[in-house]
Symmetry: none
């Protein structure tokens, strides 16, 4: 036990050396930062960290392994960043109001009224006649946004894939005629430009939330982007997907919660209602709720719409079709015009 005592004293001494070195190190780092401030370079320098780490690990002769030494130094680096008031994880643009100010929906489209806003229309554009009917319905109810899929990403290649360019033309036509803001999905980078010419807001669907090349191309178009959450995307992944768009200089991004995949099968997806206030806290971006895809059924759409607005969503997306039973896709979840008006009535009440 005496021997242990002696060894422990040695440990205490080494501890003290480490303590002094850590503080000396922090003082040096502070000086470096102050110099850097003057020459306005970035504070946090991951490459320098990696270089240091490589140097240290190369010089390591044990008995601690390189991994263990790396582990400790990474922690030391982290505490030093904290010491200098730098968050290790760089705040994304979409969250950092000091760097970039993102647009509200009202600002994006120069709207007069405050939200919440409703974006409505058929799952897919199927014909001019149907699109015209929906446009009239929306206009008559003072709705500002019309949606409709022209390029439909479908699980099976044997399902209806949308009218493509023809669909874009129809939607654009009825949009202009009735002075509605048009929203339609793009599924491939090569179509972004041609769609951006005719449509007011580009939608990125759930399946493409991490199709980063598409995000970049859509972001670069300068158009407002409606980004849907992936079926099993975490909120963190969702925010970073928006960041890919933001990094193109695009300040017009609307997020859309549309339910996540779970074991529950009474609804098509499980609407993650908590994601709305969390995203409101963690980002500056507006967020809406797609109540049709979240549910995959329409009998409970009224209470869910109310909940989405109560929780603070900036708007709702909802599918409406002149004759849902004849729709070429998602016929079970699309409202008919009468049900749509009942929904509007319920929201006003």
């Amino acid at each position: 036990m005496e021997k242990i005592q002696a060894l422990r004293q040695q440990v205490d001494e080494v501890n003290e050396h480490i303590l002094q070195s850590l503080n000396a190190r922090a003082a040096l780092i502070k000086q470096i930062r102050e110099l850097k401030d003057k020459v306005s370079s970035d504070y946090f320098d991951p490459e320098r960290e990696e270089e240091m780490l490589r140097n240290i690990i190369e010089k390591n002769e044990g008995p601690l392994s390189g991994k263990m030494i790396g582990d400790i130094f990474n922690h030391i680096f982290k505490v030093n960043l904290e010491f200098m008031g730098i968050s290790h994880e760089k705040l994304p643009l979409v969250s950092d109001i000091n760097k970039v100010k993102f647009c509200t929906i009202k600002e994006m489209f120069n709207l007069e009224k405050e939200g919440p806003y409703i974006i409505a229309g058929p799952c897919a554009i199927e014909s001019l006649e149907y699109a015209e009917k929906i446009a009239q319905l929306l206009k008559g109810n003072n709705i500002k946004f019309i949606r409709g899929g022209a390029y439909k990403p479908r699980t099976s290649p044997y399902d209806f894939q949308g009218l493509g360019k023809e669909g874009v033309k129809i939607l654009s036509h009825v949009g202009k005629k009735h002075n509605l803001i048009t929203v339609s999905e793009v599924v491939d980078g090569s179509e972004v430009e041609s769609v951006a010419k005719h449509i007011d807001m580009i939608q990125i669907g759930a399946r493409n939330m991490q199709n980063f090349e598409l995000l970049k191309r859509a972001g670069a178009s300068g158009k407002p982007i409606l980004l849907k959450r992936g079926m099993s995307a975490t909120i963190k992944e969702f925010i970073f997907a928006a960041e890919y768009i933001a990094l193109q200089g695009n300040k017009k991004i609307i997020l859309c919660e549309r339910g996540i995949r779970t074991f529950e099968n009474k609804t098509r997806n499980t609407l993650d209602i908590s994601s709305i206030p969390i995203i409101k806290k963690e980002t500056q971006l507006p967020i809406i709720v797609d109540i049709s895809h979240s549910l995959g059924r329409k009998d409970i759409i009224q209470p869910i719409a109310k909940a989405a607005l109560a929780v603070g969503a900036d708007g709702l997306m909802v599918e409406v079709h002149p004759k849902p039973e004849l729709a070429l896709s998602d016929s079970r979840q699309q409202l008919d015009p009468e049900e749509f008006q009942e929904l509007l009535g319920a929201l006003e009440a």
Copy 2:
């Protein structure tokens, strides 16, 4: 091809025989049902079906396999039930307002005011002093229900397991003193009676949602039961769990949505907000939302509480503790008294 034509004609003839037999069969079944009506036996008779099935399969000489024949006859039985207006799946009592009428929360406790109701209190009863403080807080805010765990089911046996009988005594004492309705969890059938003597509503926790023996014992106590949804229970399983209680003659059942387990980790569970209107449609039972366990964090509790009420929940359960940072369990999600009052204010606004 001629030969095929001939064989097809034979198939048509057999089809016709089957058609006639099916209709003859339906006519017989109808007669049987009418006779049964007079002697008031149950219409749907699964044992008789099984007996028929066994008979048929035994007599089967192929070429169709017993399984295939069974498959077809099961379908025939199903259509016949439909023909007689009997749903094959027996409607559970909790869904069938014609059989049993279940109580509203107001009726259960002879309350004056309509809901929504708030059930609040600490995760666990830790001391008389704390319980008293919370009781005063609730009383002062005109809240009718106080909750507090005495028997705590915990993942690790090394975590605080609750005060047991002592906790029940404390809760009962402050409840009576301040005229509050008390709610506490029971985790084993053997404790039901002793808890029922002192506590006004028995809670069955998420981990025990399919502990059917506990459900039966709790149901048989005649006390109002608060049944929480299991962590990964489907809505269907949730409803059938309530049915185990109802079958004991208990008409005082409150369901509680408390979030389901998903991959998202910014919240402890994912609140399945859609379950509330679905359960409202499919059953007669009142349902509340446990906003504390759904989230596992308190910074977004206000918007979630609003959403829960907007969607039609009959009430909210929320955890409040005099000093959450010192709480022996779930310290991160419990509100302090000030936060609790802010929540109440936000709900009234």
Copy 3:
């Protein structure tokens, strides 16, 4: 009750008639099919079914309604198709060996040895030096396939995104030098052609499994395609994603199970081992298991590799890096050369 007994006996008799008719019908259908086989017409004939149905319903005089009768006969038709081994739904090409015969891995690359095959290499190509080291390691162990990411889809835009074209060049160089088959991911349709020029097999990553335009472009290149299962894709969606490639005339498709997203957090994903025999049953396509991404940890890689081969996978994908602790991505799951050789040893034992 006596009367009921008598009626029930009559039902039993009718049941027996139906039983006999069903079997007689099946025998006739079988004869028809055998005749058809000789004249090579299609087995399943939806028009004939509809015609029969119309006939039957026209002749129906109740008491069962036409819809009910139709319901039962549709079920009878379905069971008969099953009896003859014909699937009712249209088989995708990847499942229908009678339409298109897809390649085995051996056929795709003119390999001498039967599998299982191992595809190994670093998560990302980081430098020529590292790639060369890995190529030598593989060559020395008689591995035929080298993988390495040049275009890396990353959750955060601030993470290492791969060397791009430079990475393709490096991989192609070491592949040719050491006579290894090269595998690398493509993340955008516009890169397919340039990558296809240099790389032997194009990988579609999990995030892009439903990037249908990319699937089509990759399929049209004629190159072998390695398609990874999406993080939360069902097996059905996975098979249909492969069908998008197959419809481009591409017969060289390898599927890759890489784990699905669940609540369990001791592994990065949950390897869905059952998907391998299911896909073997439902399609003709070879399937391999990515044991690195499934797990996100390497301490249990040996038993999992053994399980993957025992269940019938055609190969394994595994990440190996000269110095995993310095890797720019996924450092925790990449094996070092020594661990890699231990794995190979364990698989041979």
Copy 4:
């Protein structure tokens, strides 16, 4: 920039000092541990750590705060424990071979042969005749364990609930007659004793994995316990559930992986094959795989059984029934005797 360069060089030097101190420290700690080993005191000494930490923080003069220094040293301590192979968190009994040694399956039942072992039998005991047939089948194939449910926890109260005591009697009878080890589920604490009298191993089902009172009662019986993983239980929760049994002094615990609940619907549950090697690493307990409940289908049972054994499971549980199509529960997943023998043949091949 020159000045920065100079300061950076100083940082590099300090880094090197820290590196040397860390290694010197580790070497000292190792010596202390070796001395302690001889005097058999505990390795991990939280009090000594706290004392060191207090000393260090007292001596700290900044610029790093005491909290920051504490943070770094806590991390250094943690890495040092890792270096010496000591886990920081208290090990549960089931994981700590130094505290309690748990039984292998062979030891539990004094078996002659090493595993893997097969536990087979019907989902539920339905009659003596059926049980007798299965017992003969098992005996004839040299299987040692027979399972069969007497108390069946069922989602719906209207489904077959098992024969109860009668079922226990039947199983016990055929077990004794054919010298088979009997396994049956208990669903309520009050039945533990009476079942323990007649049955050799008590099963706790998935729904009751966190029915802690039942775990305690079952553990206290002294009987071997077969504990199934909950439908959505994490591995950590599974291990702690076993700990509740172990804390009763019971050393005879077998874990059973039976699949977890996910979105994939081609199987009833998703077999989490990775859980087997993880549990082998983290605990001493034997673990088997219930291949029937994991799958809910029997056509892929052979490859899954092989995978389960390849990954290192100590045994398999599989359902077999004389006439699965007539079974009162889970008829789709139960093997018939012929299929069962094919499975055994495939496992031997």
